[in-house]
């Protein structure tokens, strides 16, 4: 479904991604883990069209989408829940959802907003509240709900549990599990590497902009050397 081939992305003088190749098949959950500064967020942002790659290609359902506008990608069925959630704090919960469905026709949008309210009862309770007043867990649910508005085939999630209390981490993982059971394809960047890999069908480990390991999620999670490959070994790698 998603094929990323030899992707290189730079910020000015910094090369954040060095020719990374990954793929995600339809119906799969793929985890992307690694320490800070590994290039995970850069990878997702490049795929979603927020950043332009310096080199390499991205294909989605067979079509070349390298450097495409996010607006076109959303219409093609690819949505990103960005790092730090980035919900619109000045807008109400309902307005956030409406904006999430900006590519839909009016009647579709209205009915989809109501579906989201059913799916996420927490949000319904805060319907007309400014999103800035939501708690961390509520905000994360809103961010996911907002991305689901356009009914994406592939959902990219960047650090969905960042800054959440442990009980809320469970809520988010339950949500991911639910999405997976619905048959959505997910590419998840997660700091909670162990749990993410346990949930995922497959995983990739990224470090300093390079791919350092890939395999089935369970294998990677069980690997005793995971921590070392993750964080840069004592012998410096």
């Amino acid at each position: 479904m998603l094929e990323v081939d030899q992707l290189t992305t730079r910020y000015g003088a910094i090369t954040a991604l060095h020719g990374v190749t990954i793929n995600v098949n339809a119906g799969e959950v793929v985890a992307l883990v690694g320490p800070n500064g590994a290039g995970k967020t850069t990878l997702l942002n490049t795929v979603a069209g927020l950043l332009r790659p310096a080199d390499g290609t991205v294909r989605f359902n067979g079509a070349d989408i390298t450097g495409a506008e996010p607006a076109d990608l959303v219409r093609a069925g690819l949505a990103l829940v960005p790092e730090h959630r980035r919900i619109f704090k000045d807008l109400t919960v309902e307005e956030n959802l409406r904006l999430g469905g900006s590519t839909l026709r009016l009647h579709q949008r209205v009915s989809r907003v109501h579906e989201m309210a059913d799916l996420f009862p927490v949000l319904r309770a805060k319907w007309s509240t400014s999103a800035g007043f939501l708690s961390g867990g509520e905000a994360q649910q809103l961010a996911v709900a907002r991305a689901l508005m356009c009914d994406p085939k592939l959902l990219l999630l960047d650090e969905p549990t960042l800054g959440l209390a442990p009980t809320l981490v469970d809520v988010v993982f339950d949500l991911l599990d639910r999405l997976r059971k619905e048959g959505r394809t997910l590419l998840v960047v997660e700091q909670n590497a162990t749990r993410a890999l346990q949930l995922a069908d497959r995983g990739y480990i990224l470090r300093t902009g390079h791919l350092v390991a890939e395999g089935s999620g369970a294998d990677l999670a069980a690997d005793q050397g995971l921590f070392e490959s993750f964080i840069g070994g004592a012998d410096g790698a």
């Binding site: 607006a71 980035r86 704090k89 807008l91 409406r98 999430g100 900006s102 590519t103 949008r109």
Partner: protein
């Protein structure tokens, strides 16, 4: 008491025109961090449009439509020919770009029309007076306040209820997040310029009904006041822009009316006093009444 009420009505009249302009400036600042010094030129565009139509048998019945349309069109055009090319530049560059446009606009009117004032008809009823509770009002006062209020309501509805309005507000807060929702950057910015143009068009109608004349530098004085109003309110804040406009209008008329009573012989410094108050305000609250924060990560 009568004097006070009349002064306040005057102040609200001027202030609401400032508010309409300030709203447009604040809106554009919100989406692209541009303090648009070319915004006042939209009034000039409206003025010359009216002048042109009156030469060819215009009527005030439909003139507002022409003014609104021309102002909105001109606003979108400025984005297309100039601001689009400096979209990610520093606020300093953006501001100077708008200044360059303002200069160009002056020059073009002077070259293609004339630097002299061109006048046309005003609606007959504008300065008709009527009495309410023993106080004399001009019809135009009422029209100004009424039209502004109606425009504010429409603006509020657009930004609260329509997808376009929600998209603009979202983009003002976090442009990239809005793009991730499928909002097209070009479209939302063009739309914001068009809307700001419409607001300037409404302001232009109110200004032109009172003083039906066109000259190249017509927009500049209004613009400066409107920028000050927008910054007083807090750039990027819609409520702030309206408040800023009204506060500035009231401040001007109140000082002009009452400073002579308070300090005899100093009345000639009333306009200077307003600006000293404004300067003092910015020293105390550099971010305006409503601070709009855009977090920067260190």
């Amino acid at each position: 008491m009568t004097k006070l009420i009349q002064t306040i009505v005057d102040g609200l009249g001027v202030g609401s025109t400032y508010a309409l302009l300030a709203l447009g400036i604040s809106l554009i600042f919100g989406v692209m961090h541009l303090v648009n010094f070319a915004h006042g030129e939209l009034i000039t565009v409206g003025a010359y449009t009216s002048y042109f139509f009156f030469l060819h048998g215009g009527s005030w019945w439909w003139m507002p439509v022409a003014i609104l349309a021309s102002a909105a069109l001109a606003s979108v055009l400025t984005e297309l020919v100039a601001f689009r090319w400096v979209r990610n530049a520093s606020p300093f560059t953006l501001l100077l770009t708008s200044f360059a446009l303002e200069r160009l606009s002056h020059a073009l009117w002077q070259i293609f029309i004339s630097s002299k004032q061109r006048t046309f008809r005003k609606p007959k009823w504008v300065f008709n007076q009527f009495e309410l509770l023993g106080i004399k009002f001009e019809v135009m006062d009422l029209v100004t306040i009424g039209v502004t209020a109606a425009t504010m309501v429409v603006t509020a509805i657009v930004f609260k209820r329509t997808l376009f309005g929600v998209a603009v507000r979202g983009a003002a807060e976090d442009f990239d997040a809005a793009r991730l929702m499928g909002v097209r950057a070009n479209r939302v910015i063009s739309g914001a310029f068009a809307f700001a143009g419409l607001l300037a068009g409404v302001a232009a109608c109110l200004i032109l009904m009172r003083t039906p004349s066109a000259e190249p530098t017509l927009g500049s004085d209004w613009l400066l006041k409107a920028v000050i109003a927008a910054v007083i309110g807090g750039l990027g804040s819609f409520t702030g822009a309206v408040m800023g406009g009204l506060v500035l209008g009231l401040l001007e008329t109140l000082t002009r009316a009452y400073l002579p009573d308070v300090a005899t012989g100093w009345d000639k410094f009333a306009p200077a006093a307003v600006y000293i108050l404004i300067a003092a305000f910015f020293v105390i609250r550099p971010d305006g009444i409503f601070k709009v924060s855009h977090a920067e990560r260190v």
